[in-house]
Amino acid sequence: MDLTHSEEDEAFRRALKAWLRKHMPKRSTYVDGGDDFSYDDPRRVAAARAWQRTLYKAGYVAIGWPKEFGGQGASIVRQTILNEELILNRAPSLIGAMGLQMVGPTLIRHGTPEQQKEHLPKILTADEIWCQGYSEPGSGSDLASLKTRAVIDGDVFVVNGQKVWTSAAHLADWMFCLVRTDVDAPKHKGISYVLIDMKTPGIEVRPLKQMTGESGFNEVFFNDVRVPRTNLVGKLNEGWQVANSTLHFERNMLASTTRTQQLMNDLVALAQRRTRNGAKATRDPVIRQRMADVLIRTEAMKYHALKQLSDEIHGRPPGIGASINKLVTTELNHDICAVALEVLGNYGQLRRNAPHVEDKGAWPKDHMFTLGLIIGGGTSQIQKNIISERGLGLPKGA
């Protein structure tokens, strides 16, 4: 687990910190804890695109991508430093995260040169915002049962069907989408991965209001949507493998241990300034126990992430680490929020604009939002299936 950073890496961190101090947007231009996709105000969308562009021009976006695709081929250590500093300095999250972390790496690996040339530069600058068309009303955990059909008609696919829980579809310029191209093949073998321009006629996006009260995800309906065949990524009917090659990116994206550390720091700050039963909340023995418990679990994930990093650097296979990270971190985030709500007592119900609210209502909102992340990206139960089958070698169930 030797991860002593080189002097160059530390210089990179210092330069990044200095840059952030100078260039971070004012907090009023983005929403606190803005790791959701609601962006209810168009001015926020514009500000978020501008932020990603500024960050990219400064050399702080997708630095791990190969140079020929606009990245810097940076080491994993350096990518981790970047991620840590952005989160710990509370930089606004990137509006183009889905493009940067999911479709970008997929196109680098499986895309045609034309697809790479058309999309990768715009993904980097947030000129293209992407959404993920995976889940359907009848296909949640059983994603491979998806039914949205794509029928070949000359040079195009004609797409009909419906996607759901599509984060950011209401803002997105493009969607990477799984569609069924062979209804007779076994379910995993009749799926293709296609890129769909969200301005294509026949697409209807209906925002869904989440339990947080925000509208970050959507239903997307496809009615005879004509998609050029050149938008197929990978081979026809091999979309499941293409999608799987980036699913672990999503799981790791949802499982940022730095985000967990930030939540933990916020919890400590909250408990140190709040009172409970007439004394400082941190003096309450039960609160101390619960805080120490989530702190210990947070620290374990921090060192575990370093170990995984070290494994990657030394070329050891990552195994099922992404599934464990997703399972553990999303549940831990939810537990940290639950401790905060315990500290807050009745104040824990207050929403953003309420008088007497703490942390602008972030805790009850994050408590709900983190529950959403336990469900999204493969539920905890699906991760446990993966862990027990691929990690422990237990047989598949019926």
Partner: protein, 374 residues
């Protein structure tokens, strides 16, 4: 882990698989003192009794991270041998508190296995703070005279040397705590077994009835014992956490292998989600906890300012994880897991004893809270 540590882990696992199989562990645990001189001799040949002893005294001069690697393997195999008690805890105290003469007298013999030592700390109050040390020697001709008793002393019956925590000053604070080196054969000592659920590791009551030791028996100077005991607590936490890591890995492995062959309703029970999810939850706790143990072990030398906090974190977490894992591993075994005949209960019991030893999870979470400045 460095390549050397990986080598130590691999060779220890290989050695223990051959020399300390569950059958052997069961046989040794049926011995009155759960001790096999034959196995101990082989362990000495591996150099493990000298792991923490400096090279000038005939040891390997390694650090806590190496000890943690070894203890993980000993916890995995549940080997009944005085490594934790003697080679880690008592040896650490002698290294940190011993005078040149004391180190010269005892460390080579500890390394060679000629002497087994153990720490006698706890009393009836079962407290790890200075106030729990009440055993108070009287000044007498020829030195200090000791009457009273110590509880939960590991491996006392096979030990040749006790490191005894006593109160030489007034009050109940840190200032009056001293350590005494008391050979087992000093007149007036009786050792009584405290039959425990864990038959693979024995604990005893050590009674002192007008036991007289010379002034040279003081270890670390009069009234200066507490800082060494406080440091020992960190070492013990890391050691037990490492053992618990190995034990939890082994218990889950046994449960998973059983779930792959045991059939009910016409299929192996490991294909049922009710079983798979329990196993996956254990695995998801065990994997990240390993990094916590390694970090805590490394911090003992590599980051002394964070050493206590890291040790308490590892102890609290591994206690929870080991107990929960063994609960669930017995559960996955079903009825056979509840029998004496099956081996899984040995790990279940070690988990319970490890959970309580050197501070339970609540004790260490509170310590983490204090050391975090809350």
């Amino acid at each position: 882990m460095t390549a050397d540590q990986q080598l130590l882990a691999d060779s220890a696992r290989e050695f223990l698989a051959a020399e300390s199989s569950p059958t052997t562990v069961r046989r040794i645990s049926e011995d009155e003192h759960a001790f096999s001189p034959e196995l101990f001799r082989k362990i000495v040949e591996q150099g493990w009794t000298g792991l923490l002893v400096p090279e000038q005294y005939g040891g390997l001069g390694l650090e806590m991270l190496d000890a943690a690697v070894l203890l993980t393997e000993l916890g995995r195999s549940l080997t009944p041998a005085p490594i934790l008690s003697s080679a880690v805890l008592a040896t650490s105290l002698l290294c940190s508190a011993g005078s040149a003469a004391q180190r010269k007298q005892w460390l080579p013999k500890l390394a060679s296995g000629e002497v087994i030592a153990t720490v006698a700390w706890l009393e009836e109050g079962d407290r790890l703070d200075p106030g729990g040390i009440l055993l108070k020697p009287r000044r007498a001709r020829g030195g200090l005279r000791l009457s009273g008793s110590k509880l939960f002393v590991m491996d006392a019956e096979i030990a040749h040397l006790f490191v005894v925590a006593v109160r030489t000053g007034t009050g109940a604070g840190e200032a009056g705590v001293s350590l005494l080196l008391v050979p087992r054969d000093t007149p007036g000592i009786t050792v009584t077994a405290l039959p425990s659920i864990d038959v693979t590791r024995r604990v005893y009551e050590v009674k002192f009835d007008d036991v007289t030791v010379p002034p040279t028996a003081l270890l670390g100077g009069e009234g200066k014992g507490w800082k060494h005991l406080a440091r020992l607590l960190d070492v013990a936490c890391v050691a037990i956490a490492a053992e618990s890591q190995g034990g939890a890995e082994r218990a889950l492995h046994m449960a998973v292998e059983y779930a792959k062959v045991r059939e009910q309703f016409g299929r192996v029970i490991g294909s049922f989600q009710a079983v798979k999810h329990i196993a996956a939850e254990c695995f998801s706790e065990i994997e990240p906890s390993r990094s916590l143990v390694w970090y805590a072990a490394w911090a003992q030398h590599g980051s002394p300012r964070d050493a206590s906090r890291a040790a308490s974190m590892a102890k609290a977490r591994l206690s929870d994880v080991y107990s929960r894992t063994t609960d669930r591993s017995v559960q996955i075994h079903g009825g056979i897991g509840f029998t004496w005949e099956h081996d899984i209960h040995f790990w279940f019991k070690r988990a319970r004893c490890n959970e309580a030893a050197f501070g339970d999870p609540a004790f260490h979470r509170e310590r983490v809270a204090q050391l975090s400045g809350w």
